[in-house]
Structure formats: C-alpha cells, structure tokens
C-alpha cells in the first residue's frame, strides 16, 4: 500500500457519476464507500483507495471533469504501520 491514498470525492451531477463509474472500472480502484460503482450517486460522497500507480491518472481525470476531491489518507501504508502493534511492545502476547 506504499503511496496509496484514500480520496473523498463528491460527484455533483449525473455526468460526474458516469465519469466516476468509468474511472472505477478502468483504474481498478478500491471503493470503500459505497462498495459498488452502481451505487455512486450525485451529492453522495465516495471514499476510494487509489493505488499509487493510478493516482496521477485518477486525479487528472477528476480535475478534467471538474469533480471535487480531497485527500483523506495521504499514505495508506504509513497509516497502517502506525496502527499496528510495535514489535516487542508490552501488550499481551501468547
């Protein structure tokens, strides 16, 4: 998950919805909310985990179609590392 990001995207029109559904299909995005591209609705925010390799293309597509987005998680791997128990930490071990 190195460099993967989670984006919050807000489609405002049915045209945005169509464009996002296409981007989900072509870029192998991991939709967190909703889980299915067909459940994307105008006015309802999406949370998408975007592989690092697809970030540029997705953000380019969003900018091109004037779809607003924000970065929720800047680096998924970094976030995961900080939520894992540290080696040798004092929590209970079997």
């Amino acid at each position: 998950y190195d460099g993967d990001q989670v984006l919050r995207v807000l489609p405002q029109t049915s045209e945005h919805v169509k464009q996002l559904q296409q981007l989900c299909d072509t870029l192998l995005l991991d939709l967190w909310k909703p889980l299915l591209p067909e459940d994307i609705q105008a006015g309802e925010e999406l949370h998408i985990r975007v592989p690092a390799s697809s970030l540029q293309e997705l953000k380019g597509g969003l900018n091109q179609h004037l779809i607003s987005y924000a970065v929720l998680i800047r680096d998924v791997q970094e976030q995961l590392d900080s939520s894992m128990p540290r080696e040798g930490s004092s929590h209970w071990r079997v």
Partner: protein, 306 residues
C-alpha cells in the same frame, strides 16, 4: 486476563487464547463452545455469558469480524465481554438483563480472512475459500446468507469484493452460524452484527425497501441507543433501514435473522465516517468501544423490558 490490553488490535492466536483465559477465569458466568470449522479448518468458538438459573432464558446473539479488515469489530466484542464481566455484580442494568437473557458472543466470524488481513493483505474483506480452480479467493460472508441471497447489491464474480458465493450458505462459516441460530431461533430475541465503518445502526431490510413488520419497535430501540451513544463522546449515528439509509444489499445476516423470525436484528457500523475508514487508529479503540457498549446495552435493556 492479566496484562491483556483492550486498546490494541490483536492477532487471531491471541484472541483464541483470550477466549480460553476468559472462560477459565470466569467459569461462574462464561463458557466457551464450538460452533464449527472455517474453510481453512480452523475452529470457530463462541462465548456464552449466562448466569446460572433454573428458568428458561432468551438469547442475545452478537457476532464480530465477519469482514476481515474491520479490525475494530473483534476489538469491540472483546471489550464488551470485559465490560459485562467487570460490572455484572455491581451494575443494576447488567444484573437485571442477565436474569432473563443469555448473551452469546462470536468474537471473530471470518477467522481465515482476519488472519489473512494480519499476515498478507491488511485490507482483505472476504473469507478465503477458493473458486474457479483456485484462480480467485474469498466470499463476502455478509452476502452469503439465505432468504434474500444473490438478488441485489452483490456480485457473482468471485474476484469481486462482494462476491456472494456459489449459493446461499455455500461457506462453512455462514453455515455454522445459520445452523446454530436456526436451532434456537424461537429463543433468540436480538441478533447483532458488528461492522465498520460509517456510524450507522441499520435495521432490516437491505434487499428491499419494504419496512420490517416491527419497524417502529426496531427504530425506537435503535434511536434510544443512538442517543445514549452520542451522550458518551458526542458521536452521531444514523438509524434506519439499510436499503434506505445506506444501500441495497442481499444475503446479509441481519436480513436473514429477521426473516427467520428474530424480532430485533441490527447491523452496527462503528466509527468513523471516512477519516481513517478501515484503518481506525488504536487510540480510538477505547472511545469507540465505550460508546458502542452504551448503545448495545441500551438495545439489550429495551429488548429485556419488551
């Protein structure tokens, strides 16, 4: 168990050991029981919290960890057991409901997936069953239950996150839960399944927009729970039928439980609303579990009085 931290996430071997320790050190109240085997041949156990009594008691069922990556869910089931055990002698509400109700808790339903999320792919969601000659893996166990299976909000493609399996209850984990509950369905008053994220208390149905026959009662109890939850740390939860407040999905355990006659059936979607999503930091385990405990206790109290 001594030294056990409820403020960190635990791998499955520790949860197995925790279950053993819990029943050993609380034998007056807790027993551990075998439920079935997973696809990868691991045993599934549930804990029964029951105050010895001669009178017949009704059942509250709660399962956690049906989706592997939602780590806060098993953490909550463990927290909830700890809360009951720490407080049942002094808390009048817990004392009262334990006179009428037994609580059955399955801390991790999707054990294979949970282990896979620890060892290989943190954001794995499904079980680990093999399909299409081992070319793709995993069934979404919350799309695999009977009653409404395969109709909406699912995929029949096994590489999908929401693959519903090859048939209703095709997965051993689903079958184990379904057989167990079916046998006792006339005694089960309340079926709770704990997920993340989104901050919802979801009622039946997900597969259709029709309201449940006891919709008013379902929502009344859930709204009381949401109010109590908010009082704890200020977190807002949305209450309502899944198909109306979230999205349509079929084959969920919540819908199945209600369809077989269990009156109070809910899905909890715990913190948060997307800031961390499935990667909720450990420092949020405690407040999340505190507020959820309050909500679940409120529902149990409602059911008990009802």
């Amino acid at each position: 168990p001594e030294g056990y931290s409820y403020n960190v996430y635990h791998p499955m071997e520790e949860i197995y050991h925790w279950m053993y320790q819990i029943k050993e050190s609380n034998s007056e109240l807790v027993t551990q029981h075998y439920l079935g085997m997973t696809y990868e041949n691991r045993p599934m156990y549930y804990l029964k919290i029951s105050q010895p009594s001669n009178k017949a008691k009704k059942i509250i069922w709660m399962d956690c960890g049906i989706h592997a990556r939602e780590w806060i869910s098993p953490a909550f089931c463990q927290w909830f057991v700890k809360e009951i055990l720490q407080n049942y002698k002094t808390d009048p509400k817990i004392k009262s409901f334990l006179q009428n109700l037994d609580v059955y808790i399955l801390p991790v339903l999707n054990i294979d997936g949970y282990i896979y999320s620890w060892t290989t792919e943190r954001l794995w969601r499904k079980s680990r069953s093999a399909h299409v000659n081992g070319t793709c893996f995993g069934t979404d166990l919350n799309r695999n239950f009977n009653g409404s299976w395969g109709s909406i909000g699912v995929s029949h493609n096994c590489s999908s996150l929401i693959f519903c399996g090859t048939g209703p209850e095709s997965e051993p984990e689903t079958k184990a839960v379904a057989r167990f509950i079916e046998k006792r369905k006339s005694d089960v008053l309340c079926f709770l399944t704990i997920h993340s994220y989104g901050q919802y208390i979801l009622t039946p149905y997900g597969y259709k927009t029709d309201l449940a026959s006891n919709h008013q009662d379902l929502v009344e109890a859930a709204e009381k729970a949401a109010v109590a939850l908010k009082e704890k740390h200020g977190t807002n939860f949305t209450v309502g039928p899944t198909s109306l407040v979230l999205y349509k999905n079929s084959g969920s355990s919540r819908d199945w439980a209600h369809m077989i006659g269990i009156p109070f059936s809910y899905t909890f979607e715990l913190r948060d609303k997307g800031a961390y999503g499935f990667i909720l930091p450990p420092d949020q385990i405690q407040p999340t579990c505190e507020e959820t405990t309050t909500a679940v206790m409120t529902i149990i109290e409602y059911v008990n009085q009802k």
